[in-house]
Amino acid sequence: MRDTAIQVVNFSHFYGQQQSLKNLNLVIYRREILGIIGPARSGKSTFLTCLNRLNDLVPGSRVSGNILIDGQDIYQPEVEVAALRRQLGMVFATPVPLPMSIYDNVVFGPKLQGQTNRGELDRLVEDCLEKAGLWAEVKDRLKISALKLSGGQQQRLCLARVLALKPEYILLDEPTSGLDPISTMKIEDTLRLLKKDYTIILVTNNTKQAARVADRTAFFLMGELVEVNETGIIFTRPSDKRTENYIEGRFG
């Protein structure tokens, strides 16, 4: 029996009157990469921001149903949202380095937590940049502005910054949509390595990317979860006609 990490039960999300997620039921296992594919406006990104409650910041955002993470219903009032977000680190579609040095970007989260020991922070920076596959490229210029890095480097920095939070989960929202193929490959290699320590949820517009890295793949359409299964099965013999159409590029 595989270890359940996240359980989504009858979950719906609304922006004002508009329903963006419709009655989702989904289980995410520990230490897997779950790929989420689907056309634009299918609710993939919304689903990610429901998991770390970043959606709370959008006016008119409303949910029903439950999301249980490690058994805890994250929409209960006693949940501390900042702590939740540290548990579910997120990488956005466009790299968003904060306007500070590479070093300060990585230690941003830990410093908020009150971590100040210089030696520990130094080790953490090296460790996280190493894991994100960026250390060799930047180790001699950690003090330069993160905005001076290339797009691909910035995205790996964002990943390192997430790792510094010591999260259990990593949420990736089309992390390679703006990157060249080589940068994309580096990120995908990194994700395969990270899988042994983290549970990864990868939203992607690129179905081939899901085929390459995801253990299981979910197909979203118009706010509905059409089906979820082992990636191999989804891509060879999906049970729903709509999945097949999407994968074969007949729409979306």
């Binding site: 977000r85 968003v96 910054r161």
Partner: protein, 284 residues
């Protein structure tokens, strides 16, 4: 026949360009003219002695040391009060409330405050600080009055600066587990700092140059102020009295030259520092 007199599009462009160029030149020429008159008459008066000795015989003799000190005190108090108030208001309006009727009323109020003539601020300061609160004609009364006068500028420029911080920075900050206040202090304010600084510098300039609001509230005593409750005379008030009462035009021009040079220097230094700051936090 009529058609014959129309300019060709290219010639028309040229005429418009020259016209606009002349309009722009007028603005610059006025500035150069003012600077030239003041510096021509004022610079010969300047010396180390002029800057470091107190006025004597009502300002007919001596320098302007006490008025420089008073000006600095007043400006310092004004900024000390107005900057936190203004930046705080701007943070509240942009980060802590969504756009609705109340925020619009606050913003409209601030705009109106900006349009009030400074002499009215002087009168208000006189009634509230000098009389009601019994601070008397003092550095404190003058500084607080100036603070309210420059408050709208600081609110407005800070608000614009904070709004121009990309929303993605906030989202990234929240996603890394920061609270609203942490996001404001660690991400939003540092990014908005150059814009906020612009507002503060504008306010310093206005405070230094202000006469009407100060003469009613800080008074015009010529001695060196000994505490925030002493009365004092700022450079601009000193200039006004010297010129108005015909005490000494050379000394008046000397004072004006110091005023103008001080404001120019503050602007130049700030733009230099801001340039350095921006280059440190942005690509290229």
């Amino acid at each position: 026949m009529k058609k014959h007199f129309r300019l060709k599009p290219r010639a028309e462009q040229k005429v418009i360009q020259i016209l606009l160029y002349m309009m722009t030149s007028v603005a610059i020429l006025v500035l150069i003219f003012i600077l030239a008159v003041i510096l021509k008459n004022g610079l010969p008066q300047l010396s180390l002695e002029f800057l470091t000795t107190n006025p004597a015989h009502m300002g007919r003799e001596g320098g302007i040391f006490s008025t420089i000190v008073t000006t600095i005190y007043l400006t310092f108090i004004a900024l000390l009060v107005a900057t936190p108030l203004g930046v705080g208001t701007a943070i509240y309006l942009t980060e802590y409330t969504s756009e609705r009727v109340v925020t619009r009323i606050i913003r409209f109020g601030a705009e109106c405050l900006a349009g009030i003539p400074s002499i009215i601020f002087g009168l208000f300061g006189f009634i509230l600080f000098v009389n009601k609160l019994k601070f008397g004609w003092s550095i404190l009364s003058g500084g607080l009055t100036l603070a309210f006068m420059v408050l709208p500028t600081i609110i407005r420029t800070s608000e614009e600066a904070i709004k121009s911080v990309p929303a993605a920075y906030r989202l990234a900050s929240y996603s890394l587990g920061s609270t609203r206040w942490q996001t404001v202090t660690k991400v939003v304010l540092p990014s908005a700092a150059p814009g906020i600084a612009t507002g503060v510098v504008l306010s310093i300039g206005r405070s230094i140059g202000e006469t009407a609001a100060v003469i009613f509230t800080a008074g015009s005593a010529l001695h060196l102020p000994s505490s925030i409750f002493s009365s004092g005379r700022t450079m601009s008030v000193h200039f006004y009295i010297l010129a108005r009462e015909g005490i000494s035009m050379p000394k008046a021009y000397g004072t004006a030259a110091v005023l103008v040079i001080a404001i120019l220097m503050i602007n130049i230094i700030t733009y230099y520092l801001m340039g350095k700051y921006i280059s440190r936090t942005s690509p290229e």
